[in-house]
């Protein structure tokens, strides 16, 4: 049974002059222990969607099933109780500026039947988890962005929730800090078995820590599934565009467009794009085919990456040789699971 199941959610925002369909029949499911990414451009409806999970936003219709229970049907008071099981962090951290770091983290614990001593111990524990032991008596204004988000995470986790929602939680941070926050989230996912839902507009965030993702466009989920499947076989243009932002290889199309000297071919040469997933044997494959079929293979540039621990990469190569041998090369490489796209032939 999925931990979070969103069923046919619809939401329209109306203003005096227009109405915007923020969610259009959106369904998705998140299993316990997932780090689930929701990506889309601004206005795609992703923030509305994540806010439906704790009902900060009420959908016009549909079901929000958490741990088997449709929380839309609950009363206000019961919903508030459920929210204690769903932590949330925000783009602008939303810390309470008049409270110390420790008081911020203790916020969800107050009035919950705990003694002051229990709260103090729990706060210490949380400060340690997020690596801010020395800051407990400081105020949010004294912290850097990354530290503020760490406080946000500690506060969101104080009541021991099963789920953590991250609404553009790294969008206001520099790349290095983003990496450290993502590493922390991944660690929490592993250590505590925390289920995490992340909304972002950066594919690099999804690539770094998610095991599943949904791509949103104009209020609809246009693709969803395991990260590896999405990256290896993207079906929709929006998905391909997002994936392209995480690799250098899409630059080849720009270079072709501007007729770059780097891609000028001599007689008998062919420009091709090799892409492959799940295996790192391409380099040896290149030396193999050059011997087998008497072709010269010149690597112009390439990109290698790990997606969920699996290698994924692409190479832009110039193959030189007779037409027959080049065709044999392409066929052979294709049989070995490498996708080949011929970009340009000498003419």
């Amino acid at each position: 049974m999925p931990l979070i199941e969103l069923k046919n959610l619809n939401k329209t925002f109306k203003t005096k002059t227009s109405s915007v369909r923020a969610l259009n029949d959106v369904s998705l499911s998140v299993e316990k222990g997932d780090i689930f990414g929701i990506i889309g451009l601004s206005g795609a409806g992703k923030s509305t969607l994540i806010r439906c999970i704790n009902l900060l936003e009420r959908p016009d219709s549909g079901g929000v099933i958490i741990d088997g229970e449709d929380i839309i049907k609950l009363g206000e008071k019961e919903i508030r109780q459920k929210r204690k099981n769903i932590g949330m962090i925000f783009q602008h951290f939303n810390l309470f500026n008049s409270r110390t770091i420790a008081q911020n983290i203790a916020y969800p614990l107050r009035y919950g039947g705990l003694t002051d001593e229990q709260i103090e111990n729990r706060v210490k524990e949380l400060l340690e988890i997020v690596g801010l032991e020395s800051k407990e008596n400081g105020y949010p204004s004294q912290l850097s962005g990354g530290q503020k988000q760490r406080v946000g995470i500690a506060r969101a986790l104080a009541a021991n929730p099963q789920i953590l929602l991250c609404d553009e939680a790294t969008s206001a941070l520099d790349p290095k800090t983003t990496q450290s926050i993502l590493a922390l989230l991944k660690e929490l996912n592993k250590k505590l078995g925390l289920t995490i839902v992340i909304v972002t507009h950066e594919m690099s965030v999804i690539k770094a820590i998610c095991n599943k993702a949904a791509i949103m466009e104009n209020g609809e989920v246009i693709e969803q599934g395991a990260i590896f499947d999405i990256f290896s076989v993207p079906r929709r243009k929006a998905t391909k565009d997002f994936i392209a932002t995480t690799s250098n290889l899409h630059k080849v199309y720009d270079l072709l467009e501007e007729d770059s000297p780097a891609l000028h071919l001599s007689k008998g040469e062919t420009l091709a794009y090799f892409s492959y997933i799940g295996r790192a044997a391409v380099e040896s494959l290149i030396s193999t085919v050059s011997v087998m079929f008497d072709v010269r293979i010149n690597i112009i540039f390439g990109d290698l990456d790990l997606i969920q621990g699996m290698p994924m990469g692409g190479l832009i190569v110039i193959i030189g040789g007779t037409d027959a041998n080049k065709q044999k090369t392409i066929d052979y490489v294709g049989q070995k699971g490498v996708k080949v796209e011929v970009l340009k032939q000498y003419d």
Binding site: R83, F90, S98, Y107
Partner: protein
């Protein structure tokens, strides 16, 4: 030294005790009406904030009515308010004159201003803080006390400071209806008997009062801001 004082302010001779009494009356009027107005202002201020469009207890009809009432009382000039309220004042405190009689119109004149000050103070709370509290399961009442009031203490103090300073002016005006206090003192001697030196002394005391209030406010805000 004392001789020098009476050389510059000849008409102050023999008025020392009365001046002290009048200063006391001004302070009394200020604090009683100030505290009552603060109570009304903070209740109405938070009510306007939570019931406005997009507020945590949105109720547009209620908000509109309350907003209009506050505006109505804000737009009546204080001196007219005093006259207008005479029957109400009699009904509430039994008399429409003297220091006691001045407190009712002072409350009516100050509470709407206080309400707007509190509303402005509370409006500075970022929507994100409210959302964070909601995401942690805080109830609307919890948000009012734990976020709106707790997080905007410096802004509330600033509003209190501004309102008390404007109250100094209003209490002086209440002197016109025999409310006593420094305004009454200045009108009786300075204005009606052309004893300008008495007026100057009154002004000096009022300026000192305003300065003390402002400095206290600034000091507290500085202590509480992070």
């Amino acid at each position: 030294m004392i001789d020098l004082f009476f050389n510059i302010f000849p008409n102050m001779a023999g008025k020392g005790e009365e001046l002290l009494l009048c200063t006391g009356q001004t302070l009394l009027m200020m604090f009683i009406s100030g505290i009552i107005s603060f109570a009304i202002g903070i209740v109405l201020g938070i009510t306007l904030i939570v019931t406005m469009k997009g507020g945590i207890l949105e109720n547009v009809v209620f908000w509109t009515i309350l907003d209009k009432i506050v505006n109505f009382f804000r737009s009546v000039p204080f001196i007219i308010m005093i006259a207008l309220l005479i029957p109400v004042t009699r009904a509430i405190v039994g008399t429409a004159i003297g220091t006691t009689g001045a407190i009712v119109p002072l409350v009516f004149g100050t509470a709407p201003f206080f309400t707007r000050q509190m509303q402005a103070a509370l409006a500075e709370i970022e929507k994100g803080s409210i959302e964070a509290a909601q995401s942690m399961g805080t109830s609307p009442l919890g948000i009012i006390f734990r976020i709106y009031f707790k997080e905007s203490v410096p802004q509330i103090i600033r509003g209190v400071t501004i309102t008390f300073i404007s109250l100094v002016g209003l209490t002086a005006m209440a002197g016109a209806i025999g409310g006593g206090g420094l305004g009454d003192f200045a009108i009786r001697y300075g204005y009606q008997r052309y004893q300008t030196d008495v007026t100057i002394i009154t002004v000096i005391i009022l300026v000192a009062l305003v300065t003390v209030i402002q400095s206290m406010g600034d000091f507290i805000i500085k202590k509480l801001s992070h």
